[in-house]
Amino acid sequence: MSITQILFWFLSILTIFSALMVITRKNPVYSVLWLIITFIAISGHYILLNAQFLAVVNVIVYAGAIMVLFLFVIMLMNLDADAEQTKNKWLQLAGVVAGGCLLLILVAALKGAENQAKTVEMGTGSIGLIENLGQVLFKQYILPFEISSVLFLSAMVGAVVIGKKN
């Protein structure tokens, strides 16, 4: 096994394990911390795919800004670890079975797809570097980029309006 393959399997197992920990922890703070590990592992996948710009943005925006926002809200609310009351065990089991069935069907549908021989290039290719992405973003996709600033403004106004005391 080459070093790329070893890193791929390590990051995949880390991603799936920490994602499972996110949905099984009782305390929301632990869930947030495991989710940060998940996002950092996904950033590792981006680096393996040589999508360096997205890896950096993922760490800064997701693992940095969004998760800090989650952590702030959780600590602001001062939730108890056992605040989530024990609910119907059968409902919980039904949720797990439904998710497992979705996984089963998707895997069964995609297993025989005709993309068996296609491979992903790892560590080479310059489309994920910031030079190429910046050229395309500020030439071809300048309009969506500017519209996203309007989206951010409306989201900011909306958050303030919703969050203020009435």
Partner: protein, 112 residues
């Protein structure tokens, strides 16, 4: 790496997110599971973009920029997710202020 491995990794992450949404009652954790699903899709988009680039580079030479759009799409998904999180967390804070709980079971008043 074969593209199949990335497809299955993305599918497993997405299904973990779906299972979390279905089984948990804490609104914040449900929100985090939605972020998990978004990230599974992002990872798959990047893998497909690199797959198309590999095919195009084999046909047209290494200087081709096929596949850039997939990574820009991921960038815009992250932009939208950041805006979504700010509004969603504001809604959760308001819900906590009204009901003193983040349990989504308390939000069934629309039913009655």
């Amino acid at each position: 790496m074969p593209i199949n491995y990335y497809i299955f990794l993305g599918v497993i992450l997405f299904c973990i997110g779906v299972t979390g949404v279905l089984t948990r009652r804490n609104a914040i954790i449900i929100f985090m599971c939605i972020e998990l699903m978004l990230n599974a899709v992002n990872l798959l988009l990047v893998a497909f973009s690199k797959m198309h680039h590999a095919i195009a580079a084999a046909n047209q030479g290494a200087a081709t920029t096929v596949g850039t759009e997939g990574q820009l799409f991921v960038f815009f998904i992250m932009v939208v997710a950041a805006a979504e999180v700010s509004v969603g967390l504001a809604i959760i804070v308001m819900m906590y202020r009204n009901t003193h709980s983040v349990d989504v079971n308390f939000l069934n008043r629309l039913k009655h």
